[in-house]
Symmetry: C2
Subunit: 189 residues, 2 copies
DNA sequence: CGATAGATTGAGCAACCTCAAAATTGGTGG
DNA sequence: CCACCAATTTTGAGGTTGCTCAATCTATCG
């Protein structure tokens, strides 16, 4: 594998779209990326949120079957698909990343299977805390209410109401535009 | 990879359980297997249904994080995890299987994100038709209503009511204990 | 033939969605 | 710095869907 330049993209940039031929693999270095899909009826479903160090997708050929969009200004590396099979170290990395992603997709399905809106959203916050926590222990949620709704299978209004309720109950504190402090104990109940 | 004997297991056999140390990989030869998870509260969530030719899991070490149970009498092969890395052919197979599984998990999440019960269940039948169709074009559903409910995030009663309604509307015909003929066109609407 | 697990059907209700309006935020330019 | 605009979020009221609870029906197996 050769040396790869770190590229930059602004918030809102579409990194790739469904239907485009696959060219490169992307490894996120900083910032956050959202992966999503569009149903036949235009309904959007958020598949996953990507954190630094993770690969965006695992398709080495064919066309993309989902969309990737930067939630913040990001830094990332492009990796040529030809490099993927040659390097045994990279193969091992690829395998681990796929395992991780399978686990997360499973956790996501489990979240969506939960019946109550409160359980779904609490589970989302707990999952997010494990991966998107900043240096000071605060949770960074650089996504809109709509995107949270599309990840949890709820409406934006339901998400908004639950956040408001939890703020009143001191289970959730907003400490910045996108920063929260979460009482995981309280939310788990 | 050496020669592996084909093993057999009866309907209802637990192939592995969450928490057990991973030993072997399993490739299904005939029959159907259900993968599922148990929430902290005992709620069961069906992750996937496995068809012949597919691997059950992709964990090479550590402990299982889900359960696998035979839905029918099955035949399968056990593969030693040590063989996985050596053989390049098997590595490629493993990679393809993981890609397939990621796609299916994604499709599952998309299904669960749909808002109406009818859409979720119709999507399940359409997905199942693509993978679990028998030699004569009939859909084999060797799972209980409860298992379908746990896969679609619905209750058993809702599943039962929708099946009954679709049978009345001739969108679904039951031709055997576990066999159906599906009018995919009609269900997609 | 009885026993047991699974499936069906019905009635009532609560949770969440829908629709609508107001409030807040962030960005832009004067 | 302030005014204005667009986008997002919040809040409210009402309606529907699907869940809950409960009883009946069916199939399978000893």
């Amino acid at each position: 594998m050769g040396v790869h330049a770190v590229k930059t993209a602004g918030k809102g940039t579409a990194l790739y779209s469904a239907g485009e031929p696959v060219g490169k693999l992307y490894k996120l270095c900083s910032g956050a990326v959202m992966l999503f899909d569009l149903g036949a009826d235009g309904r959007r479903c958020v598949i996953d949120f990507i954190a630094p160090g993770e690969l965006l997708h695992f398709d080495l050929n064919g066309v993309f079957d989902h969309y990737a969009e930067a939630l913040t200004t990001i830094e990332y590396i492009e990796i040529d698909v030809a490099d993927a099979f040659g390097d045994p170290d990279f193969s091992a990395f690829l395998f681990e990343q796929m395992q991780d992603r399978l686990r997360r997709e499973r956790a996501h399905a489990l979240l969506l299977g939960r019946n109550s809106a409160a359980e779904r959203l609490a589970e989302f916050l707990i999952q997010a805390s494990a991966r998107l926590t900043g240096p000071m222990g605060e949770l960074e949620l650089p996504m809109t209410r709509q995107q949270i709704a599309d990840y949890t299978g709820l409406t934006i209004e339901t998400v908004s109401r639950l956040f408001a309720k939890w703020k009143r109950d001191r289970k959730l504190q907003q400490v910045g535009r996108y920063s929260y402090v979460v009482d995981q104990e309280a939310l788990a109940a």
